[in-house]
Symmetry: C2
Subunit: 384 residues, 2 copies
Amino acid sequence: MAARPVSRRSAVDPFLAMDVLRKATAREAAGEAILHLELGQPGWPAPAPALEAARAALAADRLGYTEALGRASLRARIARHYGEAYGLDLDPARVVVTTGSSGGFTLAFLALFDAGAKVALAEPGYPAYRNVMRALGLKPLALPVGEAERWQPTVAQLVAAAEEGARGLLIASPANPTGTMLGEAAMKALAETCAARGVALISDEIYHGLTYERPATTALAHSDEAVVVNSFSKFYCMTGWRIGWMVVPEGLERVVERLAQNLFISPPTLSQIAAEAAFDAKEELEARRAVYAGNREVLAKKLAAAGLTGFAPADGAFYLYADVRRFTNDSAAFAEAMLAEIAVAATPGLDFDPGRGAGYLRLSYAAEADVIAEAARRIGDWLP
Amino acid sequence: MAARPVSRRSAVDPFLAMDVLRKATAREAAGEAILHLELGQPGWPAPAPALEAARAALAADRLGYTEALGRASLRARIARHYGEAYGLDLDPARVVVTTGSSGGFTLAFLALFDAGAKVALAEPGYPAYRNVMRALGLKPLALPVGEAERWQPTVAQLVAAAEEGARGLLIASPANPTGTMLGEAAMKALAETCAARGVALISDEIYHGLTYERPATTALAHSDEAVVVNSFSKFYCMTGWRIGWMVVPEGLERVVERLAQNLFISPPTLSQIAAEAAFDAKEELEARRAVYAGNREVLAKKLAAAGLTGFAPADGAFYLYADVRRFTNDSAAFAEAMLAEIAVAATPGLDFDPGRGAGYLRLSYAAEADVIAEAARRIGDWLP
């Protein structure tokens, strides 16, 4: 009997965050209260108009497949959002509704790149980027960024990557795990360099709306050729609904449509209906953003008071990426001890940066205010 | 300015069915009534207990991410279903909840095969199989099947494919577009040959439950190494919910889990909750199956009376795959004329069989009884 095959490309890294979550969940099952600062998801359900639209559709709609690119009304509503939020005039034909931003990345990578293509991206960064790239045969080209680069890739790094043969650049602003944003000028310079060198620009904008100093800039303001990936998971609090969108350059719609038909058929119908209504919940969602803003202040202040001061600039999203090298050279063990001793869960930096991540910890402040305040207090007391 | 890249692998075939659908939808928008026999989806919404569970969860659940492999209670319920439906004892750890069967195929292909691997499959067959394989770098190896093979791959074809280097065999029983099933003995022989030759067996079982002569056999009854892909879309009438499952061999769970974490995060939460409750709707769903059974009789009889007699054995699913060579050598034009002249939409065989499909037409009888009866009458009157 011969052995069943297993692919090499499926040997992607597991998320350490998931192991932390598993341990935290096991302790919760045993009756213990855990403060969750390891999760990249809001502490609230979808906003009221989204829930109401879903309720109505459950009663009235057959909820069959939709067009592969999504319901026309949702695509039009998303296009209108670009006028409202950024002052851009966007053709709804360029909007693709996706099964979360996850679906968007798969479609973007497959539409743009053949196997073997190199794609540059910042390190630290969201680990699924490089894992999905590898599973799809791409070669992630890590651009190490830190304080010196303000945690975002520079034009010099992009030029060097292009000279190494990079066919794409993936940016995220605000970024995960740092929350750090690209400024208007930096975004423009990267977009222009991509255009000049025939490098595809993919811009992850899933944390747009969750900013604390100034609004985020979209790659679309600087390039008609950028592929933008966005999501209803973060600002709109709809993680489990698995619904997001892309904006693609003219001419790529048909390519993405064919891929989407075959790979996904269509995004979840009820989620599409609910997502469209979520745009009517700006006030409710702004109030939640205000909670994150407060959490961010409290957490940063308490940790700084306890001697934990090295954060990446947390312009947006809901994370602090903390330099813990003063306390440890093994942030995975550090996170485990924190969970064991004070029941606070956080994510070791190695998930985001296989190189330097052992010196960093990601703390999410997406939970409700009392959870974050209590976690900040415990961490402050716990640090030596 | 250099050109933005577009991949070669995204140049997959579009679905002709989608073009038919587009034309049909345009005419409906203009006020015309179209009889839809081109759609591979039931005419009903999800069953009552599924809708009720979704309603309750909307009110009570935050609907965040779940574990990547799905909610434990749903995985356990699916495992129990294997006891109820097939008399098999299945460890819930081997059950993976997926974002439709589409998600299952992507995970199966990536988990089992590296780029360049050859995977054998019947032709005619569901077009997304070969399109997704190509997008993921695999080489589909078409096994032409027809009346002589009872529209399913034979052991001789499998052996020949293995000798050509095939690393996998994808089977579907009941199959789309034919509805034809593999018998117990044929399934067993294919499974044993796969095991003997180290060929991975992927079994698409999404039409299980929708059978008219005898129940379908699962590959799991004949192989612990098979990867089974299933779905709540067809028997359970939950197409737009995008929810399905896989059963994977022991040892592959962790591989699939890592891929699923990165590619999907988790399947839609509300759909998982609704799907679990759908198992409580056997009577309601059986009544719908009885409608299909009636439709199948009516359609086959009326078409036969009009001289359209060559069907693949429609053991299950809700399709007739009709040999229309007596009337045309261009079934795409034939389908277009049928839509234009009698407002009945059907799918040209070329979607399923680029070789011989021009002589075939797929008619779905998943709609309600009056729609199918009226369509059968119109086609009967229309045929020359």
